[in-house]
């Protein structure tokens, strides 16, 4: 899970760990790429707007190395343009911030479920 805001990071960890997922937190795109290099995962949850390297850069890089990895994009500025450019770079799902625990769980389930269906 990648977000530059610690509040969002801890929120996500609390929700997803309560659901029984194992969550690794990263504060930036380079950090996430390094983490992914160390160990594979089943879902990438990424913010779009981040300082220096943004979420779109991250999605693009990840998509090249792991074409099948589901990517759930989240954004506090959920305009159609943002969503469209995320999809173009390889995001599979989208969720707008802020969200309730139920909404995030449902979105993660959908992303993983799509993956499992494939």
């Amino acid at each position: 899970m990648v977000d530059d805001d610690p509040v969002v990071r801890s929120s996500c960890r609390r929700i997803l760990e309560a659901e029984g997922h194992r969550v690794r937190l990263c504060a930036s795109a380079p950090e996430a790429l390094a983490e992914l290099g160390r160990e594979a995962c089943q879902l990438l949850l990424a913010d779009v707007i981040m300082p220096e390297f943004d979420g779109l850069y991250l999605i693009g890089s990840v998509r090249r190395s792991s074409p099948d990895l589901p990517i759930l994009v989240m954004s506090g500025y959920p305009t159609p343009e943002t969503i469209a450019s995320g999809q173009k770079m390889g995001a599979t799902h989208f969720i707008a911030k802020p969200f309730t625990p139920e909404e995030l769980s449902a979105a993660v389930a959908r992303a993983l479920g799509g993956r499992q269906k494939e």
Binding site: D3, D5, V7, V8, S10, S11, C12, R14, I15, A18, I49, G76, Y77, P78, T79, P80, E81, A96, K97, P98, F99, T100, P101, E102, L104
Partner: protein, 647 residues
């Protein structure tokens, strides 16, 4: 196609004036010239006729003088004695003295038998040849005096010198009747012959006939006396104004008409026409005639000899140039007056046309300026003619044009202000949304996680629920802000607006049913499909219908009508949504399209709905207007031009 030729009114007016001036001037010029010519030449002819009378008088006085001189000699007793005695010396003395005193060219005495007893000439001719005047007096036994033509022989009998003097070589003259001979040898004379009787009573025995005379050939005394008496040496442009001539038949024998060399024109001939009229028909004749080398106003009188035969003519003439110049000068004055009249006509024409047409010209210029966008052109002072009415009407028309222009400017300024407002709110919203949503995620997450715990007491649960509700509200506000700020691309597609309304009503039908409000949709006919973003336009309709529903009490109704309508002269589609709700107070009417303006209670509306709706309609080239009456209801009217850009 023929090109249309526009003749300026100014040109026509001036031309009319000019034509009138030319007509009047030209007519008076022609009439004036005729009158002038007639009066000048009448005057000149009258003068010449009088002058001819005077000339005749002078000619006659020359005869009288001759007669008187001879009579005086004849009455002398010594002379009669000498004649009676045939005393040659005494006769010679008396007649010679007479000839000397009277400056006679010939004089003599003839015996009753018809022999010339004495001739005053130093070279007397044959005594048997008798002077014709004397012969006539002898025959008639009576005195005679007057004009008499003598042949060369008769002249030579008096004095060979006289015959030589009488000879005049003929000068060929244009317009004259040519003569066969090359010189005139006969001579015209003034002659007198008196019978001398023994006693002065005239009844006694005839002693002889005294005769004497002067040769008129080359004798300019009479003509010069006429000239000096009548014309007093008047000179015009270096020429004698008056001339006089003595003709022997058609030949000038004494004259002061000068030829081209400045010599007296003796030897030239009269023109054929004058010869015929005066010599042949014996008439007095006055006319304009060409004399030797100039035009003259002339008068001719035939001269009869002692036998009553026409033998010559007396002529006087006045140089025509003097009168012609007089006439020419008068004509020049006429022409100048006419020209001045024409100049005046043009000046008057242009002055009048300027006064009449300048306001017109200014109006034309003003309408050009108006067509180029200047709505306050200068049209000059109001004319006092009918044009003034036109000017006033033109000004009034400009006034209404300016009013309309001002109105349109104000409206577009308002629209600009609104879109600027919207844009700045949009930028703010985007920034705020991004910054707020992250912490909001934390609040939502942890509130909901806390609520899931089973060890909470009722009060704590209630407080957490309040936090969750409030946070939801914040989430909605931020979402509204984002929606408002979003200038997402429209996805236009051809849509039947009646269909769209029909498809939209069911979406709110449940809410209306619950509230007890009736929907009426009156779909206009003949409304063409139009390219719009169907989803966004539906959200506009929904927004307005939901607002209407909120405002309307149970039992009220909402009427939706569509029809074609003109706005600002353009054809378009109009959708009117009228409710019977509580209406909007006047002070709110101008602000209802402002972002965040709402009259709904806290938490029920963001105040962005109408603002967003207006933005969408505006991007379709249309407009939303509202009319409202407090307590009776409001009508929102959406108008879309038939053809319009979709931004």
């Amino acid at each position: 196609m023929n090109p249309v030729v526009y003749l300026s009114t100014r040109f026509r007016l001036i031309t009319s004036f000019l034509a009138m001036a030319i007509l009047v001037g030209g007519l008076s010029l022609i009439v004036g010239a005729r009158l002038l010519t007639a009066s000048v030449f009448n005057e000149a002819s009258n003068r010449v006729r009088q002058d001819l009378n005077t000339a005749q008088e002078i000619y006659r006085s020359a005869v009288d003088r001759l007669t008187l001189g001879l009579t005086l000699v004849a009455l002398q007793p010594e002379f009669r004695q000498a004649v009676g005695g045939r005393d040659q010396a005494d006769i010679a003395s008396c007649v010679g003295t007479l000839a000397d005193q009277l400056d006679l060219d010939f004089a003599g005495l003839v015996s009753p038998e018809g022999l010339t007893l004495y001739r005053s000439s130093p070279r007397p001719g044959d005594p048997a040849s008798v002077n014709p005047a004397a012969a006539l007096a002898l025959e008639r036994r009576a005195s005679l005096s007057g004009t008499l033509a003598l042949s060369q022989a008769e002249l030579a009998a008096e004095d060979p010198e006289l015959a030589a003097r009488a000879r005049i070589p003929l000068v060929p003259t244009p317009m004259a009747e040519p003569r066969a001979e090359s010189e005139e040898t006969a001579g015209l004379t003034l002659a007198c012959a008196l019978p001398i009787y023994a006693a002065p009573d005239g009844a006694s025995r005839l002693l002889g006939v005294l005769y004497g005379g002067v040769l008129l050939n080359r004798n300019n005394e009479i003509v010069d006396r006429v000239r000096d008496t009548v014309f007093q040496q008047e000179v015009y442009r270096g020429r004698q104004v008056g001339t006089s001539t003595l003709f022997f038949k058609d030949l000038r024998i004494a004259t002061n008409v000068l030829d081209s060399r400045g010599q007296r024109a003796i030897g030239t001939l009269i023109s054929a026409e004058v010869k015929r009229r005066v010599l042949d028909q014996g008439e007095r004749w006055t006319a304009r005639a060409f004399v030797v080398r100039d035009w003259y106003i002339t008068a001719y009188e035939p001269i009869a000899d002692v036998n009553g035969r026409t033998v010559g003519m007396l002529y006087v003439g006045v140089l025509e140039a003097k009168y012609a110049d007089l006439r020419r000068k008068a004509m020049l004055v006429f022409v100048l007056i006419t020209a001045a009249g024409m100049v005046l006509a043009v000046a008057l024409g242009s002055l009048l046309s300027s006064r009449m047409l300048n306001p017109m010209q200014r109006l034309i210029e003003a309408s050009h300026r108006v067509s180029q966008g200047d709505l306050s052109p200068e049209i000059g002072p109001y004319s006092r003619s009918e044009l003034g009415v036109l000017q006033r009407t033109f000004q009034e028309m400009l006034g209404s044009l300016r009013d309309r222009d001002r109105h349109q400017k104000a409206e577009s300024e308002l629209r600009l202000l609104q879109s600027e407002k919207q844009a700045s709110v949009g930028r703010l919203a985007a920034g705020v949304a991004h910054e707020i949503n992250n912490p909001l995620t934390g609040v939502l997450t942890f509130t909901h996680l806390l609520l899931k715990r089973g060890d909470l007491d009722a009060e704590m649960r209630e407080d957490l629920t309040t936090i969750a509700g409030a946070t939801e509200r914040v989430r909605k506000i931020v979402k509204g802000l984002l929606d408002f700020s979003r200038q997402s691309k429209l996805e236009p597609q051809s849509t039947d607006l009646n269909d769209l309304v029909t498809a939209t009503i069911p979406l709110v039908a449940n809410q209306a049913l619950v509230k007890g409000v009736l929907f009426c949709f009156d779909a206009g006919s003949g409304i063409p499909a139009r390219t719009i973003d169907r989803n966004q336009f539906q959200s506009v309709l929904l927004n307005i219908i939901l607002n209407a529903l909120d405002a309307t009490q149970t039992g009220g109704h909402i009427d939706i009508t569509t029809r074609l309508a003109l706005t600002d002269g353009r054809q378009g589609i109009q959708i009117a949504i009228a409710d019977t709700g509580h209406g909007i107070p006047a002070e709110h009417l101008e602000r209802i399209f402002d972002p965040f303006f709402t009259t709904k209670e806290v938490g029920k509306g963001t105040g962005l709905g109408l603002s967003v709706s207006q933005g969408i309609v505006a991007r379709h080239g249309g407009s939303i207007r509202v009319q409202s009456q407090v307590g009776k209801g409001s009508t929102f009217t959406i108008w879309l031009p038939l053809e319009g850009e979709v931004l």
